[in-house]
């Protein structure tokens, strides 16, 4: 079913939206990702992920006032929705639970 899966990059974006609350929009999400993960990300890629998350219902958005440095263009501010929160929690739990199931030996020999 569409909307249930959360891709790796999508999850990252969703998390960053949470981190930057309430001022999350395309450009600063990208900067935050670059700063925190040292990954090279195009603006288009971020917008693409945002629009997918929006479609899946994990994000909601509203247009804020335009500012001078944007040449008067309004920006779209994103917020995590309830189902977004659920999806994040589900992923988080799944990882924790899987991680806790790894026998100590397996991690030791690495």
């Amino acid at each position: 079913m569409k909307g249930t899966q959360l891709g790796e990059f999508e999850e990252l974006v969703l998390l960053v939206v949470g981190v930057l609350f309430p001022e999350a929009y395309g450009l600063n999400i990208r900067e935050e990702i670059i700063n925190q993960t040292k990954r090279k990300v195009a603006i288009g890629a971020v917008h693409s992920a945002l629009s997918r998350l929006d479609e899946k219902g994990f994000l909601e958005s509203e247009l804020a006032e335009g500012t001078h440095e944007r040449g008067g263009r309004r920006k779209r501010l994103f917020k995590i929705t309830a189902s977004g929160k659920q999806a994040l929690e589900k992923n988080h739990e799944l990882r924790n639970s899987l991680f806790s199931q790894i026998p100590e030996m397996a991690l030791k020999i690495v």
Binding site: G26, L27, I43, H47, S48, G66, E69, R70, G71, K75
Partner: protein, 882 residues
Amino acid sequence: MGLQPTYEPPKMAVKLLSLVCKNDLFEEIEGDLYEYYQGKRKEKSKPVANLYYWFHMLNFLRPFAIKKLGQNSNTIIMCRSYFKFTWRGMLRQKLQTSFHLLGLIVAFCVCGFIYSHIKYESSYDSFLDNADDIYRVAWMNENPQTRTPHPMAQALVNDFPEVIDAVSISPIYGPGLTKTTIPLRNEKREVGFNEPNGYFADSTFFDVFSFKAVEGNPDKALRKPFGIILSESMAKRYFGDEEAVGQMLSFMGNPDMLEVAAVIEDAPKNSHFHYNFLISYVTLKSLQFNDPWMSWDDFGHFNYLKLAPGTDAKAFEAKIPDWAPKYLDWGEESLASLKAGDLKFELQPVQSIHLHSNIRWELEANGSYSYLLIYGISALFILLISIINFVNLNTAKAAQRLKEVGVKKTLGAYKSQVFSQFIFEALFTTFLALVLSFVAMYMLEAPFNQLVNGNISFADLYQTDVILLLLSITIVTALLSAIYPSFYLNSFEAGQILKGLKLSKLGGNNVRNGLLAVQLIAAIVMISGSLVIKHQITFLKEKDLGFKQDNLMVLEVDGYDPRTKLVKTELLKNSAVTGATAVSNIPGGQFNQHPIYAENNPSERVDASEMFVDDDVAEVLGLKVLEGRMLSKAYAADSAGRSFVLNQSAINQLNLTDPIGKQLVWEDNENLVKGTIVGTVEDFHFRSLHEPIRPMIMLMQPLNSNFMLVKVNPTDLSQTISKIEADYKEVIADGQFSYQFLDTEIQDLYKEESRTLTLITLLSAISILLACGGLLGIISIVIKQRVKEISIRKIMGASASQILWLMNFKYLLIAGISLLIAVPVSVYFMKDWLSNFTYQIGIDPLAYVLTAIAVLFLIGFTITLISMKTVKSNPVNALRSE
């Protein structure tokens, strides 16, 4: 608040983004990019920042951000609805749609095929570098010929600055000027063949003909005595994948006589001559070969010139008569006629040889321009018929769509929109036909090539000019067929239409009938033309040639081999062999010629083709001896080659009365052979019927035999052939046994005619079927409009035949008028075409009577067929509802 000035991002990029980006996403995306740009500009120079901007802008070209096609575009939505209407309309009238498509597909296919055939035929020799500047020197007298003297090529280069390069070549001829095969052999691998298509060539060959080397240096190769240049495919046959250059070949039984000096590419298919190997004249000259063949006296070589770019060939040609006498050792009279232009050296552009030159001793059988013209005109006619069909049917259908147009107009369609819908529908059909015709051509390529023995390849159709041509034809057809109905239907008010306007008459009848007449004229010209062509070709094939060609086997023999005589005696022991004779040339082939004259009248010289014959030639070929006797070994003079038999034409042209016993001189180059005329034979067609019968002289020179003609009993042929092969092998164990049948050889002379006959029959059948199909379509629409009229007539007491006559009359009248126009046109063109032939059957009026009957019958039949249903139906059914 003092705001800092902002930087403007590159305008082009913003513009582009606004064009492709979804409207509701555009503002935020542009805003982000703008803000990003400000940051970059503070750190980097303007061009670098611009580059970054562009990069990120282009990165937005992803599905989520790009506008969906037709998201908000009226045009696209309209196009979709046009498409739906078109598609539904096509499905509703499957028969009509398939006829439309089929007609157009056939026409496009025919045009595509014929176009590429014509293109191929006219592409001969255009692959040569500087092809425009290369000419062949031909000799024009009352019996023009391709061959001119060997020294001429180099003399022209030396004396004229216009001539950059020149080359003299000659096929390796056997005795009596038959193109001979040379036994070549690679001793090491024990591979040997009787190799045809060998040429002697000057060392300048590659200066004129730009054939590329594959191995070795061909320029040097032709300067070296005993060097041989092979074509690539021949090198493969003798040496496989080994390097051929430097290897040896045995030549006519002389072990390892020739060294392979170079390998060159095969001549392309569209070359007017093809070589397997080249041997330089240098080799001949190094043999102290002082043959008069190499002198100015012998018109026996093919000379090609390369002129300086931009030289006027005609002007240059005019200089030759003043120049040539310095070399030609001729009498006053001949030189005078050279100056007067009765005799002439003519420059033939190399690219026109294949289609326009058909004179004596062509290197290969050439094509014929007049046939190409016929093909081209036929293809155009078929295209015309098909386009008219499409236009006519579309316009006739217009009335059926009156309501549709009415509703559209009420709903607010502009006139232009109605128009564009009709255009769209027509374009859709024609383009579909175009695409399907390409599929059809792809599939029919091989059968077509087989049918016409052609060389066209489907790949040739993927050329810009072909595609442009077909596209423009397609578009014009669609426009023509759409303009009339849309204007006509647009001319009514919407309200009027919906109130129940009945079209009492289909508009545009005159135009439609005019087009119908044009179609019929084209079809009639084609049918009658093909009948005339058929008559002429059957006439050529069946004409009595003056000798018997049936059941004659032609074996290749070597007159210098003493065992050849034994072959004859051995064969005659076979009961299935009723006769055998050794000859130098066979009817239908090439003949050498030399002048002859009566000893007491040397001024009356005649060029006579010569044939070296054996005892039984008259019996085997069935020649009629008019006076005297045939040659026989019983007479010493005959065996010595000093007795001659002439044909009737030779006697007539020499003005001899009572020729038997007269002394005659046969001028074999510098060797004057004096002898006695011992007999005359009735003229027979020893060349193809494209040429008149010319003088011929027969004499005995057994060494010069190339062929053994063997008359066999046709029953149990295969066994007879294997018996003959066994007999031959018994005498000549190391020989290559190869045979043909004379009648098939002679049929080959008319290959071009046979091909034309097949094609023209096919094309004229297509044309009349298309024309009748179009008529059928129109009548079926017209009749629907007249159902009520017919029913009322029936009620009033009209008989079925009266009604049928009423339906038929107008169209038979149109057909009659078309016949009146088409017949004179056809007669005119066919007369012109027939004048190409030396032997013509003339135009048989029956061809036209037949055409007329066939056309009138087909039209009457078509109309009657389609009217019968209406005529037979109960008139009440048509009249009870109004």
